[in-house]
Symmetry: C2
Subunit: 440 residues, 2 copies
Amino acid sequence: EYLSSQSSPEASTKEPNRSKSYDPKKPHITETPLTRRNWYKHVNWLNVVLIVGIPIIGLISAIWTPLRWQTAIFAVAYYFATGLGITAGYHRLWAHTSYSASTPLKIFWAAVGGGAVEGSIRWWARDHRAHHRYTDTEKDPYSVRKGLLYSHFGWMLMKQNPKRIGRTDISDLNDDWVVVWQHKNYLKVVLFMGLIFPSLVCGLAWGDWLGGFIYGGILRIFFVQQATFCVNSLAHWLGDQPFDDRNSPRDHVITALVTLGEGYHNFHHEFPSDYRNAIEWHQYDPTKWSIWLAKQVGLASDLKQFRSNEIEKGRLQQMQKKLDQKRGKLDWGVPLEQLPVMEWDDYVDQTSNGRALVAVAGVVHDVTDFVADHPGGKAMIRSGIGKDATAMFNGGVYNHSNAAHNLLSTMRVGVIRGGMEVEIWKRAHNENKDTMIVKD
Amino acid sequence: EYLSSQSSPEASTKEPNRSKSYDPKKPHITETPLTRRNWYKHVNWLNVVLIVGIPIIGLISAIWTPLRWQTAIFAVAYYFATGLGITAGYHRLWAHTSYSASTPLKIFWAAVGGGAVEGSIRWWARDHRAHHRYTDTEKDPYSVRKGLLYSHFGWMLMKQNPKRIGRTDISDLNDDWVVVWQHKNYLKVVLFMGLIFPSLVCGLAWGDWLGGFIYGGILRIFFVQQATFCVNSLAHWLGDQPFDDRNSPRDHVITALVTLGEGYHNFHHEFPSDYRNAIEWHQYDPTKWSIWLAKQVGLASDLKQFRSNEIEKGRLQQMQKKLDQKRGKLDWGVPLEQLPVMEWDDYVDQTSNGRALVAVAGVVHDVTDFVADHPGGKAMIRSGIGKDATAMFNGGVYNHSNAAHNLLSTMRVGVIRGGMEVEIWKRAHNENKDTMIVKD
Ligand code: HEM
Ligand code: HEM
Ligand SMILES: [Fe+2]
Ligand SMILES: [Fe+2]
Ligand SMILES: [Fe+2]
Ligand SMILES: [Fe+2]
């Protein structure tokens, strides 16, 4: 094949396989059908414990753990911090390089992002790049085409075939020591930032060690996870598609509210390296606001933004597409080239035999059923029957609206050979009659 | 002129002049300039008294007239009845014949419409037809082009030149005995329905003769007048133009609320013989509702309605128009026919001299400033430099979004003679090299 002879940047990035125990020679479990006897082998039990099991234990423990107001405030604040670690750090900084961050900011995002317990930056960003590059296809790690729940967390609860996920270039991430360090020490980062740090804060500051662990740790992790998972599920399922409806991403304010501003996802898939997701000032995008703030204090720079010219072009084309679809569903009258050709005298003859025909701009219209409904009255429209009503219709008597022109075209029954007036003028001249005087 | 030789239905309708004292030989007062000495001659004093004077007297009298709740309820109810007399009777029935009414309903509309004190049906409908036929022109009796206040009531407070107002066919009104009778007995109708009837009701029923006169009569007249005048002012000034922006009529919910549903005026001017003004169920149009109710009880029939196909065509064309205006304001890149033509070898040469050029679909693009911003990474876009990147760009490596295609076109710098690939394939064949293998 032609393409295969081209060198691709992917070939040069030596991408380690996801799991070290994975042996490409043996068939992967996902390649064997799910049966009653092997189903438990398909389940990713570690993730089930992390995403479902621990939160349930947390919820039950919460019954016996009083919630102190200081702990509640901290848990909510830490929810936002760890959520932004995912949205402003993992997503917009590393997966999409939509801005540059100074080292302190990178370390901060890597730390709080780790506290959200959604995998290392390196793993997350690689999957996410595959998601953008292969959106909605078999190579999309969390394709919504496989179901809303699958895209939400089903893809993590069931084992995945690493060969299936599209490959992407992550050489820039491999060059970033913060990313590499976090990947290598991921388990320590998760334990410390996810559970120990919140317990420490609440314990040392107001003596609520257990509350810090349950509310600031376990339950906060659960909420951050569920919220950010919505970017893969809800954002591909609920809302409008103002920029492109080729794929599943959608814009919706509810998704934005849940996901710290990642809800303008149709925009995001079209303009992935824009540091914004919401482009209007009144839309909710705290991730954008925090990146902007980081820039003001000198921690971030080079915030990428697509020109509004490019954004408006996309919006316009999508509107045009919808308009064209709608146009196709409406009745615009018989196309001119499909109409029979009539002689002028034929036309006049037929009207004297009682048919209510009106000729406008070379086209004959049957207005029989419309005479009684004519908004300008019966007498007016009757005065055009059997005549060349072009001028009357177009301002000579009344300058008809666009709506009237549309309606007229649905009444087409024929075209007149030679464009009418010309012929009758000629006739008048030939027969040397002066019934009609044409100036200039 | 050609048109003048045609017979027009207008020529056959012998339209009496508006004022009997009007002598076409003497110059009309409006033909003399307004000066400090003759200004009072320009004022229509009768209308000033009717529209401004009496309401002021009413307001002052109200200070000493206690408002009883029964009278208040009656005044509001009578406000709606007389308002509907104008909107459902004068306007939609007689001016636009948008439905047929039985004689009892006609008499009712003629009575309550008279109680609104806005002139006879015959006079009102004639002016209104001129307003539709000559909208926004000199012949429009209440053209908004002359100012918002002029269109509201200025046209009544100042004397008008009857020759100025466009002429219209009102033969159908002259054939309607209810219209003719009301016109002949207009003063009696106004006095009875406007003032005597409300006083009688409140006097006989709960002894409030004066309250009935002041609140149910004078002040109610004032509010009905101001509300319905808004159709000529506000409805030509405030709101959107979803169907046509050639003229001034506009749609706005505020106007609709004030005018018993006549606020969807852009629609109304496009589809004047539609018995509806609001076409959506959730829009406020009590005039439409009352016509519909009248039909249910057998008092009205033949409710005219434009096909939704015609309405949607208008809306679509207006949207198309706005889209086209917007399209013209955006940058779509240099048109292909204005680009210089390059040879394939030229293109390759220039890229080896350091210019970042990428050829896609026969067009050369300068991506120098974009390499660092490329959402798919620097390595990816660099791999297209100096090559035919058509296939890579269109799915071979990544199927770029519509937005990427738009962006690409803004980077155009040349077209390649002969459409490139074909040429290089040929070259490979000619030189008998097998560096590239082309299947089927
Ligand atoms: C031949 C097919 C005709 C169609 C389909 C048609 C349609 C319409 C429509 C839809 C209107 C409503 C206002 C508007 O949309 O602009 C209208 C109004 C009018 N038409 Fe026609 N018309 C026809 C022929 C004529 C002719 C031959 C005359 C005159 C010789 C005429 C005179 C008028 C006048 C004076 C009005 C103004 C009524 C008003 O807005 O109050 N029409 N017509
Ligand atoms: C020549 C000018 C190019 C322009 C203007 C351009 C533009 C873009 C844009 C706007 C995106 C964002 C996603 C989208 O809108 O679809 C994108 C993504 C991408 N581009 Fe390009 N591109 C160019 C060339 C290339 C070439 C030559 C390659 C590969 C050989 C390439 C590979 C990619 C990949 C893999 C992505 C996916 C990144 C992701 O969504 O995560 N691009 N490009
Ligand atoms: Fe997505
Ligand atoms: Fe993304
Ligand atoms: Fe109007
Ligand atoms: Fe009207």
